[in-house]
């Protein structure tokens, strides 16, 4: 049952921060509502104030010298339709296309997906693999932090009282950067049992650099598999190395048993998907450099 709440429409982002500051834990930002309303209906989350951010103009996708900038209130459908994302950041599209149904994608936002901080958030691994930063806005101004530092635990982020996530930034990528996101799910429209994003650059001599591997749903937060990354960095790539990187990633993650899958199965899938995502990322990079 949905308890009573007040629906607040702030005039601008500063007002929004005021409202959030004033009501503290009583208030939450309402973006698409596809997670928040379910929590309120099913999980007994009681809130006095839902503050909508849809009127703030934070729904842009732009590319420039500072890289890709996505407003926090951009919906998944908007990302899906963005030619820019499609051409230059296909790893993000990989994730969006595997998320929920078209109806849900019409409502759900990139900011909501990150702020909800589910370990299985599909957009987190690709953005981690892209070294994304987030912009956080509050009464005292803006601060920027690495996405890696944004996730603190299941449902927990680095946002403090009165702060909102306003923008996601991805630094400029070299033209031959390749990345891919793979997701293990039980049926279509499912949340991830395991999500793995991988990205790299392949130099003309066939060596990998800037290797990033990010894992979803196998720990309290989405995480980078730094040991597997380090293993591959500077290496001449081949199938065997990808396989080994998968084995290392498997040992780095800390999944749990739940109704969706056992920890053992998740580890096994991390190993397989890491190998496959690396292979796909490498082949995309090679395709761009040839």
């Amino acid at each position: 049952m949905l308890s009573d709440f007040e629906y607040v429409v702030p005039d601008n982002i500063a007002d929004m921060c005021d409202v959030l500051k004033q009501y503290g834990a009583e208030a939450r930002v309402l973006a698409g509502g596809t997670d928040l309303l379910v929590q309120m209906k099913r999980k007994g989350v009681q809130l006095g104030y839902l503050v909508t951010g849809r009127s703030l103009g934070l729904n842009y996708i732009t590319d420039g010298p500072q890289g890709l900038r996505i407003g926090a209130f951009v919906t998944l459908s908007e990302i899906e339709r963005s030619g820019l994302v499609r051409q230059k950041y296909p790893i993000i599209l990989d994730a969006v296309m595997k998320m929920a149904s078209p109806q849900v994608r019409n409502l759900a936002t990139i900011g909501g997906n990150l702020c909800n901080a589910a370990p299985s958030a599909d957009l987190a691994p690709p953005l981690l693999a892209l070294d994304a930063e987030v912009t956080v806005f509050s009464q005292s101004g803006e601060r920027r932090l690495q996405l890696e530092d944004f996730f603190l635990g299941p449902g927990l982020t680095a946002l403090t009282n009165g702060e909102i996530l306003s923008e996601i930034r991805v630094p400029q990528l070299p033209p031959t950067w390749g990345g891919a996101y793979l997701k293990q799910q039980r049926t279509a429209e499912d949340i991830a049992i395991v999500g793995v994003a991988a990205s790299m650059l392949i130099s003309h001599n066939g060596c990998a650099s800037n290797v990033r591997i990010a894992l979803g749903a196998v720990g309290p937060t989405p995480v980078r598999a730094v040991k597997a990354e380090a293993f591959l960095e500077g290496q001449l790539i081949n199938e065997e190395k990808f396989k080994r990187a998968g084995e290392i990633a498997r040992e780095e993650c800390t999944p749990i048993d739940d109704v969706r899958a056992s920890a053992m199965y998740r580890k096994r899938v991390v190993e397989v998907l890491t190998k496959r995502a690396l292979k796909e990322a490498a082949s995309r990079s090679l395709a761009l450099s040839s």
Binding site: R186, T187, A188, E189, D190, V259, Y265, L273
Partner: protein, 765 residues
Amino acid sequence: MPGLSIVGKSIARIDAKAKVTGEQVYVNDVKLPGMLYGVIVRGPYAHARILEVETSEAEAVPGVRAVITSRDTPGIKFSFIPSLADKLPLESEKVCYVGDEVAAVAADTLEIAQKAAKLVKVRYQPLLAVFDPEEAMSPEAPRIHENKESNVVFEIHKEFGNKDAALKAVDYFFEDRFVTPRVCHCCMETRGCIAYFDRAGQLTVWSPTQAPHTLRQELSRVLGMDIGGIRVLRVSAGGAFGSRLVMDMKEPIAAILSQRTGRPVKIVNTREEEFTTAKTRYPYIIDLRTGVTRDGKIMSREARIIVDNGAYTDKGSATLNFAASFFIALYEVPYVKYDGYLVYTNNQFGTAFRGFGNPQIHFAIESQMDIIAEKLGLDPMELRLRNANQPNRRVSSGAQVTSCGLEACIRKAAELSSWDSKRAETARQDPSALKRRGIGMAVMTHSGGGSRYYGYNATDAFVKISDDAKVTVITPAVEIGQGAATAMAQIAAEVLGVNMDRIVVENTDTNLTPYDLGAFGSRTTFVCGNAVRNAALDARREMAELAAELLGAEPQLLTFKDERICARQGENYISFQEVVDYAYKRKGRPISGRGRYDDPVATQVGLSEGTENHIPTYAFACQVAEVEVDLETGEVRVLRVTAAHDTGTTINPAMASGQIEGGVVQGFGFALTERYQTRDGKMLNDNFLDYKLPRAGDSPPVDVLLVESNDPEGPFGAKGIGEPGLVPTAAAIANAIYDAIGIRFRHIPITPEDILSSIASKDKS
């Protein structure tokens, strides 16, 4: 069938526009003046004694009109079969599964009712619970119903044929245990009802039931009132699949709340209530022993079946009975033995679910057929062909098979799926490939016309032709989304030779519709369709007499087709409309017809030796599944299912195909994705995020083949098609997985984790 103009055509459903546009009214759309909203207070324990129910706080909430407990009910126990009665509408002494009804609230709004329901305070003393049916059979197990002698509530023992002669011929015995899971119906619409006791004491119930006349009987029993005082108005069902066949306790609870308040009361399940209390498919444990000769002739088949009944008895005994008929009749087997035990546990209880015990039995039989085929070095198709039943055979139990398209289904499915070449291809696969393909087959038989277990399998229909030349068909055929109303309209339109837009179907009000058992057992087309055909023929006789006067011809020589009544081919004719005008304006009389489907065998079955003829007609099918197994992740993709089904004659190919496709997708979920997960009897995944019902994106392409065996008793030769679609699917998929990776799964669902751990243990050994 040649010569037919409406039957056999994929005509758009008569309810298509209302359903596509959202105009169709479901029970949650119905709002009556002064209507209250009811909420049920449910026990949180799998097994607990109720010590005290305190309602005063809930009663004090403004807007609350009534709070009831068992004290406010007649205290009459209910089960579908009266002699097995074990369930009170509101429990007084114990709760026996998580979600058991304890109290109920009616209030001005749903929100108030929900709030007040939380304020009903119940004190419980938790008791030891038992969830495993085999454990529950032990004398030491907690007794769930203390007035019963044991947790085994029902047994069935059947044995037919010459045991000694049959067993003597056996060269090999095969013994396997197969286990099938609890799954939920997952109707898009959750179950609900409205009940209203009016000032005259008449109880009217709005319900998306599959069996409105049975609902009247059930309500009259549990409320202790005369059946004549109960009227059921059937509203559209947003899915049924058996879950709306037997009354659940919402109907009597709403009725009692209405009686207390003098207002109509609506109760609708939340999705969580639907998952946890709307009843499920019965889980079966099947020990199957089959004896075969060296050349692949099945001589004997013996099953010992343990069914998890759950906390109360609903359709558990009937599913065991029903499935026995098909266990016996699928193949020609000289000796069969069938022993079933229905066992109480503290789980959610089962009910009817599309296939009614038969998908469980077929998973066992048809998985074992492939085990046998491999051992004998036979192609699985060949083994099935050697044992397939044939038309006009009497099986070992004495049951009569009439029309039978099994062999044709097998051959056609094999041909369309390129069985031989695909089997050869999968056998030649690179053994080191990480994705492996497989192809598997399973056949089935099911009823194509209900059953005679009730000692009754008849119904009536009426046709009236009004002054505007509209044809109204009054039939009890229950529309639950399967297309029954359209099928009835097509049958009437065919007989009368009129266009579909003349036909109106009235089938919602028990005050109006003839008595009938309801929409289940794939019986509606066969039983109600025959009655409608006969009623239309009766009306046609009246039309023919009138037309004969106008045409100067013999009434029995007239043909009715394309809105015309013809004396001879094309030459001397008159329009349907003109004959109706002639009747009303010149002859001063109306036109109508009455028809009956009568099944006299129904009153005799099961009464003495050799009268096991429970099934009026059998439907047959063969499905071939093709899969790809990812050896690294354990994922199974179903690439294609070829489904050849014996429909007798198809009334509406698009609707029949839709029934088969839907069945296959449900069978896919049964085989691979759906898991009912619990801890201490509490369901852990009571939502569509974690209960993995197949989505549109998971549905494999289904190639449907309609095989027409022309049933001698069916309307225009038709048989039912509502259930067969999912009966063989799980076995076909399991057999395909075996073909792909050489691992035999004797349980479903077969999850990616099962596949990976089986591969790992196979590699070890």
